[in-house]
Amino acid sequence: MSPLDLHINDGFLPMVDGSLVYHRGFGDRRTLVTDPRPSLAVSPRVFLRNGTVVASRTYPLKAAVPPLGRPAPAAKDPANPGEFLVRRAYWASFFPDRTLIAETGSTISIRVTNHLAQEHALQFLNAGPGNGHVGTGVIKPGQTKTLEFTAPKAGTYLYCDPGAVPADPTADPVQRVLGLFGALLVTDPASPWLPTPNGPEFERQWLWMLHNVDPVWAGIASRNGTVDPDKTPVFPRYFTLNGRSGFQSLAASMDEALNRVREEDTLMSGSARHIDVRNFSQAAAAGTLRTGQLMRFLNAGVVHHQLHFHGNHLWTVSRNGAPFPRTGGRVDADGHIVLQQWEDVIEMHPLDRKDSVLPVRRPPEATDQVWNARNEDWFYPMHCHAEPSQVARGGMYPGGLVGHWTVAAPGPENNPAPHELFRSQVDFSSQQMHEGSPATEFRQTPDVAHEFKFFNRQMKFDDGGEFEMWTFETENSGRIYPAPLVRVTEGQVFHGTIRPSKRVHTIHWHGIEPDPRNDGVGHTSFEVSGSYTYQWQPDRGQPGNPNVGAAGTYFYHCHVNTTLHVQMGMFGPLIIDPAVHPDFPVTKGARRAFVDGPEYDIGTETMLVPYSLDPRWHELNHAAGLSGDDAGLDRFEPKHFYLLGGELAPVPDKEGPLFLTRIRARMAGGTVKPTLLRLLNANYFPVNAYFTDAAGKRVAMAELIAHDGRPFRDTSSPSGPARPISATGPLRTSIINFGAAERYDMLLRPPAPGTYTLTVDLLDWITGKVILSRNIPVIAE
């Protein structure tokens, strides 16, 4: 067999703002640094089991190629009007540049030539025996080395130049940041629509590589200097998804060839379908299936990303090559959940790999009338909620790591509709559609309605800091911060009317999934300058059904210039309560967390909202960065850290910031139910929250019951009831690690009466080091 030739080249690549930034990369031909089209990424290649290497953007090689990346459905789903059955084992998937595909049993043979003046290496992380790395070792300038190894087990892997410490690629990310990275996908050719023998079976798959670009590091490297991260800390100014940012990533540029590629290999789309997370291989008729599309996420950058999907939660099935169990589960030592689960924010640490299923199903909070009347594609954003990654060179929101996905217009002929194109990122950022007071389509009489009026004022915080804050108030809320709690019961029709005052704002109901008009995002609907009434209806839960139900913790926030406006305070908590089910009655003084979930004590239900603040940002104006100005919105330097929130039963009786100063934790027993603590990370950086006793020893007193508005359930039975994990094997932990916009619900289970401590550490989004810390007492009584 002939090895695949890779060439370590350098060159300059255009960024989303039209500037050139020096890069290095593994190309498929030799090019010089002066080449206007340098080869810095290999086009997709497939290592076949028969020993040959094939250049192909799609795999399986003989499978049908979906037009513009969008698989056409097989037929209408007879059991689910308005939804479709997808074709089973039929469609090929497109893959982006830098992807290498290897069939299990194949030999990966790569001959690497280093054309640069420094030593480099090619290393496949975790692809060797015992989860070790396998690589070329040092390749001197001008030298060629051949790497040959057997394809590892099926899954996704990162390859990169590992830097100075090959055994620990996290230690020296410089060459990776400069562009020396890519992805290896290993798949079984006998079952190419299954990531593992146990599933989940998928319609097609998508591979997303996340990356960050630091022009200062690039400049040093271009002059053949040595980048020392200690002397020049990394400062990413561009954030890419499969190599592109902003409007280029969203296929909204005037470059039609690029747009086509993005539609094919990056922007998910498909017909609405019915799925059941207990069994992604459910067949309704021969050759058809009820399943979603598989997402393969890889973080090749240095930033802790938080991929938030609008429209549908995703079902996460594995992390770093380890399949998540469907039953039992655990919390690992770092505070991460190891269990298949729903998420609307996918947490991606640097070098993380995750697989999740995007259902591509009816957005559950769209009302029936709106859903039944749809006749066009519905677009939903995906953006990173570590919001400094949403700008390019300090501004031009949304100019960073963004994507979208599409629920196709109904019908078998569902080619993507043309959408608006832009000449530049500045045009895209500065020309978001806004309307004065648009009508609410299919307006109903609401069960719960609030008006959200914008206000701004100086607010004094508990450390003496005083800052300009922007947020919302409702009818009788007073001017509090965070904005007032919104509480809706499953099945109720909700109306939220925004009145932005003098500017343009929206409200996005984070984690709630209505139609695009009611999703509150400018580039998929409109921004509001007059008023608009958002309408949605939270999905009703059913006992034992892991596919339905909205009860849980959410938040709402402005989605205009989001990076700035959320930091300015334009958010508030949102809770969906379950409707009481006759099989699951509720004790007096208690409420269930979800329809068949555990009961908790209403009187001590508590919200904790970690929030950090950069004073510089609070002097910026409403539209900072949107005109192309470098407003420094990629430089978030928190100087203050607060634990906002409080007990939810009492109505706040004072204005200004609401601080959580202590938690009362019920000692449960008999009719006394435990305390429910709801966590919402309103930071742009991750936090660690952990419990200790008086001696400083960790105490596993947190029983995790839900994440991102969805209960943890045992989904091990393909057709039987999926009982709450709290009933089958509680997830107990002393620590939880969670990033921007994630929510966790936990029951507090103190082992004995007494006073404990909850500490919340704010972590740097790159180094992971503790920046600021707060703690409060937890009084078990």
Binding site: T34, P36, S430, V504, H622
Partner: protein, 228 residues
Amino acid sequence: MKPNPPEVTVPVLTRRQFGLIVGGGALLLAAGGTYGVVSRSTTNSAELVATAFGSLSVVNAGRLARLDAQGRPATKSLAAAASRITGPGAVAPLSGASRPGPGGQGVSLALHTHDGGVLPDSGWPQPANFTWGDVVLLEVTLTNSRPEPVLFAPGQLRLKLVPSGITVTPQDFNRGPGVIAAGATERLWISYLAPHDALDMELEYSEPEQDGTTSLALPLLTASQVKS
């Protein structure tokens, strides 16, 4: 993304609906009315700045309203905007304009708060989303004096607002990233959004392989009202 009707093949901003906030309240024009101001320098008087590959200079500079009287984008392309400066229907260049001295009017972009900021009394429509309502349009010549081609991208040229030092990404350009042939001189039209109260501006050039930037003063581009 918002879908467009299928028949729209080049949907450049045709569905935009900008709100209007007009300073003074008496400046609405008939359909097609546009606003603009030109301050034009010529190749004879243009300042030449040395770069690593040769030189660059600004040979034409104009300032136009971003929106027309109906609040739509005033021009649909960079070429159309450039023709308003150099073409037969160009608005008249201003004469006698000079750069403000120390202490002259600057911009205060970073200090506006949400309600404290007010739209400038511009004399022409400003976007209701509070993005900038002026377009600064420059024609730049680039001369490669080297014996080999050099790489160039318009994004290396950023508008710099003085005295704040804030730099601005190009809004549009008629020449994408690529090479300038050995010994060649190329002309480039490039546009930026600018705040209406910004008078003193520079063009900042950064070379991909070099550390630091070079600044080139621009002729004063006042925002007096001219309609055409």
